[in-house]
C-alpha cells in the first residue's frame, strides 16, 4: 500500500518543492562557478592583450633594453627573448633523452618494486617547488662559479624531467603488448624491439609531452632568479654567462615604478602567453591525433 495520496494528483510528492528549490540553487551555483572560471581567464587575457598590444612592436623583439633611459630611444627586450630561446632549448636537450630513457626503463625493463619506487621519486621531483630547485642549482653550480645560462637550463630541465617521463610512460603503456610479442617472436632482441618497434609508435606522444613541458617552463621564473639573473643588457647567445629571460624580465619590469617599463612587461607577457597558448593547443591536438593512431579510437 502506497503512502502517497493517489487522488486527486497521483504525482504529488510532499516536500518536493523545497528539494527542487535546493536543486535549482545548486545548479545555479555550479553554473556560476564555470562562469567565474571563464570570466577570470577572459579578464586576464583581455588585460594582457589590451595593455600589451600597444607596446608590441618590432623593436620589442629586436632591440636591447636601455636601463635608466630618459629619452624615448627605441628599446626592447631582445636579450630576454634570445635568452629564453637558448635556455629553454638547452633544457629540452637535457631533459628529453633522460626523461625518455627513464620512461623506457620503468615501462619495459624494471621489476614492479623498482617501478613503483622510481615513479614515486619522479612524483616527488615533480612536487619540489620551483624556487627550491633554484636554491639547489644555485648551490650546485653557481656557488664559486657564477651564474650561467647552463645553470638556468639545468634548473629548467629538472622541472621538465618528470613531465616528459610521465607522458612518455603513459604513451608507452598504450602501445599494445602484441606488438612487442610479435617482434620478440621473430627473434628480434629486446633492445632492438624497444628502439625500432615500440619507440617509433610513441613519437607523437613524446612530442606532445615535450611541447607541454616546454610550455610549462618557458614561463618559469623562480629558479632563474637565482641562477641566471645578473645580466647585462646586450643580447647574447652564449650560455656560459647568465642570460636574461622573458619571465625574469617581466618580473623585474613589474616591480619598477616606470609605466613605460610596465608597458614593455605587458607586451612581453602577451608574447609569452601567445606562445604558451599556441604550444598547449598544439600539444592537445597532437595528443588526440597520436592517441587515435595507436588505439584506433
Amino acid at each position: 500500500m502506497s503512502t502517497q495520496d493517489l487522488a486527486p494528483n497521483p504525482l504529488e510528492v510532499r516536500g518536493l518543492g523545497r528539494r527542487k528549490a535546493t536543486n535549482r540553487v545548486m545548479e545555479g551555483l555550479a553554473w556560476l562557478s564555470a562562469l567565474i572560471a571563464v570570466g577570470i581567464l577572459g579578464v586576464v587575457i583581455f588585460s594582457v592583450a589590451r595593455r600589451g598590444l600597444p607596446a608590441l612592436n618590432f623593436d620589442l623583439l629586436t632591440k636591447d633594453p636601455i636601463p635608466f633611459s630618459l629619452t624615448n630611444q627605441p628599446q626592447g627586450l631582445a636579450n630576454a627573448f634570445v635568452g629564453t630561446i637558448v635556455i629553454v632549448s638547452l633544457a629540452t636537450l637535457m631533459a628529453l633523452p633522460v626523461g625518455i630513457l627513464v620512461a623506457i626503463y620503468l615501462n619495459e625493463f624494471a621489476p614492479a618494486a623498482i617501478r613503483n619506487a622510481v615513479t614515486m621519486i619522479l612524483d616527488i621531483l615533480n612536487g619540489v617547488p620551483a624556487i627550491v630547485i633554484g636554491i639547489f642549482v644555485f648551490g650546485l653550480f653557481v656557488v664559486g662559479h657564477g651564474q650561467s645560462g647552463w645553470a638556468g637550463a639545468f634548473a629548467l630541465a629538472c622541472l621538465m624531467l618528470p613531465l616528459v617521463s610521465r607522458s612518455t610512460m603513459e604513451i608507452l603503456a598504450l602501445v599494445p603488448n602484441a606488438l612487442r610479442e610479435a617482434s620478440l617472436g621473430l627473434g628480434v632482441p629486446r633492445w632492438r624491439t624497444t628502439l625500432s618497434i615500440v619507440l617509433p609508435q610513441t613519437v607523437g606522444g613524446i612530442v606532445t609531452g615535450t611541447v607541454l613541458a616546454v610550455a610549462r617552463v618557458a614561463g618559469e621564473t623562480a629558479p632563474l632568479l637565482f641562477v641566471s639573473s645578473f645580466v647585462g643588457t646586450q643580447t647574447s647567445w652564449n650560455p656560459l654567462h647568465a642570460l636574461q629571460t622573458v619571465p625574469v624580465a617581466i618580473f623585474e619590469l613589474s616591480e619598477s615604478p616606470d609605466p613605460a617599463d610596465h608597458a614593455r612587461a605587458w607586451a612581453a607577457a602577451l608574447v609569452l602567453l601567445l606562445f604558451i597558448l599556441f604550444a598547449s593547443l598544439s600539444a592537445r591536438w597532437l595528443a588526440n591525433r597520436s592517441r587515435r593512431k595507436i588505439t584506433g579510437r
Binding site: N9, P10, L16
Partner: protein, 280 residues
C-alpha cells in the same frame, strides 16, 4: 485463428487465478508510444494497460526494445541525451510524458530495479536508509529498514551486519538489497529490468518468490528474456518482437494477454512461434 498448443513448458507455478477483468484497476494506460534513440526508433506504437497489484511480464527476443519500453514508464530515458518519445503514458489517469511533469516526482512513485545489481558503495543499512532520508521519510527508520529487508527476503542474512559494506554481499544478495532499497521508499509500482539475468537459479527463485509475496502491496512490471520465469511469476504477459521494414528495425508489441493465454493458446502466430521455441 487460435489453437490450443501442448504446453512445451511444464513449469511449477504458484500463480493464482486472476480476479475478473471488471475488478482490475488500471495503473498505466499506454497509447501509441514511440521511443527513439538518436533518430533510430527502438520501439513503436505500443498500446497496452498495466493493472494494479499484478505482475506484468514483458517478454521477447533481445533487441526488441523491452528495456527501452520499461524505462519509459518512469522517465528513466530522460537521462539519455539523444532520446525522444511520442505517445502518451497515463499513470492513474495523468499523462507522465508531458513536459510539465516533473520526472523526479514520477520516479518517486515508480521505482526501478536494474539488470545488474548496483548497490551504493555504502553500508547495507545506509543503502536502504539513504533514499528514505533524502525523500523525507524519517520516522521509525529502523523498523522500515527491517521491513524492507524482510520483504526482500534478505533480513535474516544481513541482520547482524547492517554496517558492513554492501559490496561485500554476493550478487544475489546485492540484487535483493537493491529491491529492498527500492521498496523502502514505498513506491506504487516497481519496474524490474531483467532483475535475475545476472544471478544463479537459487537467487532467481528467491526474487520470484518475493514478487509473488509482495504483489498485494505493489504492482510489478518485469522484463525478462526467460520465458519460464514469465510463466512462473506473471499474471499478464506482453510479447514484444522485432519488426523489420524498409526504413529500420524496431520493436513492437505483438500480443498482450493473461499469461495462461499467451503460453497455451496465443492469438498471434509470432507469439506461438516464440513460446514454443521455434525462434528467439
Amino acid at each position: 485463428m487460435s489453437t490450443t498448443i501442448e504446453p512445451t513448458l511444464r513449469v511449477e507455478t504458484r500463480r493464482q487465478p486472476m480476479p475478473p477483468r471488471e475488478r482490475l484497476e488500471q495503473i498505466f494506460d499506454i497509447q501509441g508510444l514511440d521511443a527513439v534513440y538518436g533518430g533510430k526508433p527502438a520501439v513503436k506504437g505500443v498500446t497496452m494497460e498495466v493493472y494494479k497489484n499484478l505482475v506484468t511480464a514483458i517478454i521477447g527476443p533481445s533487441g526488441c526494445g523491452k528495456s527501452t519500453f520499461i524505462r519509459c514508464l518512469n522517465r528513466m530515458n530522460d537521462l539519455i541525451p539523444s532520446f525522444t518519445q511520442t505517445g502518451t503514458i497515463r499513470y492513474h489517469g495523468q499523462d507522465i510524458c508531458g513536459s510539465n511533469i516533473d520526472a523526479v516526482a514520477v520516479r518517486r512513485n515508480i521505482g526501478m530495479v536494474f539488470q545488474r545489481p548496483n548497490p551504493f558503495p555504502k553500508s547495507i543499512h545506509d543503502n536502504v536508509a539513504w533514499g528514505m532520508k533524502v525523500l523525507g521519510i524519517k520516522d521509525n527508520m529502523n523498523d522500515r529498514i527491517e521491513r524492507a529487508l524482510t520483504q526482500a527476503a534478505l533480513w535474516d542474512e544481513v541482520k547482524d551486519r547492517l554496517k558492513a559494506s554492501a559490496l561485500s554481499l554476493s550478487g544475489g544478495q546485492q540484487q535483493r538489497l537493491c529491491i529492498a532499497r527500492a521498496i523502502a521508499v514505498e513506491p506504487d509500482v516497481v519496474l524490474m529490468d531483467e532483475p535475475a539475468s545476472a544471478l544463479d537459479p537459487i537467487a532467481t527463485q528467491a526474487i520470484e518468490e518475493l514478487m509473488h509475496n509482495l504483489k498485494s502491496e505493489y504492482t510489478f512490471v518485469i522484463v525478462t528474456h526467460n520465458m519460464q520465469q514469465a510463466a512462473r511469476v506473471a499474471d499478464m504477459t506482453a510479447f514484444f518482437s522485432l519488426e523489420v521494414d524498409t526504413a529500420d528495425r524496431h520493436g513492437i508489441l505483438v500480443e498482450y494477454a493473461e499469461t495462461a493465454t499467451i503460453f497455451t493458446h496465443p492469438a498471434d502466430k509470432r507469439t506461438e512461434d516464440y513460446v514454443t521455441g521455434r525462434f528467439g
